[in-house]
Symmetry: C2
C-alpha cells in the first residue's frame, strides 16, 4: 500500500472516520456515499475521497463505501489489531481514571503494569493492573519489551521519567503531563501529547466569536 | 476584525500557536520569523502567514512577528480574558484530576461549583470547589448564568445530564464522556469533546507505519 508522506491532518482524521463508521455499523448502515459521510462529519466529499485515496481504493462510483469494509481497513491502518503492550506511570487521579475507564483493549493495547511511588498502591492490583514501584521501571523495561507508556506523573517528574523510558527502549509515550518532553531526534520514539488546554481554548474561541 | 468562516483547522491550530509563543516568551525570545516558527511547529511558513491573516496583520516583512504582541493577540482571539464561569459535573477520578490539576484560570475560566451524587462529597469543598447534589443542578442554573460545564459523568448519564444543561441555559459543554451528545441544531450550545481514543489511535498509527 502506498503510504508516503500522508499528512498529519489526514492521520488525525482517521480516528474520527473510524468512530463515525463504528457508529454507522452499530446502526446497521451497510453503505454510505462520500457526500453523506461528508455531511455527517462536517467535511467535503472531495476531502473524504482524497483522504482515503492515500491508503488505496475503497469507494465505488455510484455505490459509495461499504461501511464494514472501510471500518475494517481504517482499523488496520491505525494498527488496532497489533496487540501493543502498554504500561502506565503515575497512578494519581488521572492515571486511575484511565486505568478504570479507558478501554485500552478497544484501541489495540494491553495494559501490562502500572508504576507509582505511593506505598498504599504498590504490590496491589488497581483496576486489574499490578502497581510496581517506579524505581523498578528500568529493570522492568529490560525484561519486558514495551510498545507504549502512558505518562500521568506530576509535571516536575515528566522529563526525568520520559528520559528513563526513552533510554529504556520504550517505543512510544502517550503524554498527559502538558510538558513538552525532550525527545532526541534519533530516538525514534513516538510521542503523542494530550493537551486538555488546547481543547478548552478551542471551546473558548467558539464561545467568544 | 474580519472573522468570517475561519476554518476549523485554523482554529484548532490557535492554541498550539499560543503554547509555542508562551514558550518563546518564557525563554526571552522577542521576535520570530514565520520560517523559524514553521520549523518549530512542523508547519510551513506560508501556512502560518495564511493562518494569522484570518485575524489581521501581525507580521512585518523582514522583521517577522513580535512574540509578545502575537501571543497577546491570539490569547484575546481565544477569549482568554473573558472570565467565563464554569461548573463540573461528575467528581470521579477524571473530574477530580481536572479540579485538582487543570489550570482553568489560565484558560480564562472560573470554576464556580461541582456536582455529584456521592454523599461523601456533597456539601464539602473538593480542591477548593463546593460540591452540590446533582439534583440541584437545574435550580443552580436558574440562578447562576453559567458559560461552560465540564462533563465527566459515566457514559450512561451523559445525555441525560447534557439535556438538563442545554435546557437549563448552559452556553457550552466540555465533554469527556466519549458519548456523542444530542445537541438540537437551534440550541446554540457549543460542544467540544475530548476523545482520548483519537489521540491513542494517532499514536498507534505512527507505531504501525
Amino acid at each position: 500500500m502506498k503510504r508516503i508522506n500522508v499528512s498529519k491532518n489526514v492521520i488525525r482524521r482517521l480516528p474520527r472516520y473510524l468512530r463515525r463508521l463504528e457508529d454507522l455499523s452499530r446502526r446497521g448502515v451497510q453503505r454510505i456515499s462520500s457526500g453523506e459521510l461528508a455531511v455527517q462529519m462536517g467535511l467535503t466529499a472531495s476531502q473524504i475521497r482524497q483522504d482515503f485515496s492515500n491508503f488505496g481504493e475503497f469507494g465505488q462510483q455510484g455505490y459509495g463505501y461499504n461501511v464494514e469494509t472501510l471500518r475494517h481497513a481504517i482499523s488496520e491502518i491505525l494498527g488496532r489489531s497489533q496487540g501493543y503492550s502498554a504500561i502506565l506511570i503515575g497512578v494519581g487521579n488521572l492515571g486511575s481514571a484511565l486505568l478504570g475507564n479507558f478501554n485500552f483493549e478497544a484501541a489495540g493495547f494491553k495494559m501490562k503494569a502500572a508504576f507509582d511511588v505511593a506505598p498504599r498502591l504498590i504490590g496491589k492490583e488497581h483496576f486489574g493492573v499490578m502497581v510496581h514501584h517506579s524505581d523498578t521501571l528500568e529493570e522492568y523495561l529490560k525484561h519486558e519489551k514495551t510498545d507504549m507508556a502512558v505518562l500521568t506523573v506530576p509535571q516536575a517528574l515528566a522529563n526525568t521519567i520520559s528520559h528513563s523510558l526513552i533510554t529504556g527502549g520504550i517505543r512510544s509515550i502517550w503524554n498527559f503531563t502538558n510538558v513538552e518532553l525532550h525527545n532526541p531526534a534519533d530516538s525514534g520514539v513516538v510521542i503523542e501529547s494530550v493537551h486538555f488546554s488546547d481543547s478548552l481554548l478551542t471551546l473558548s474561541y467558539y464561545l467568544t466569536n
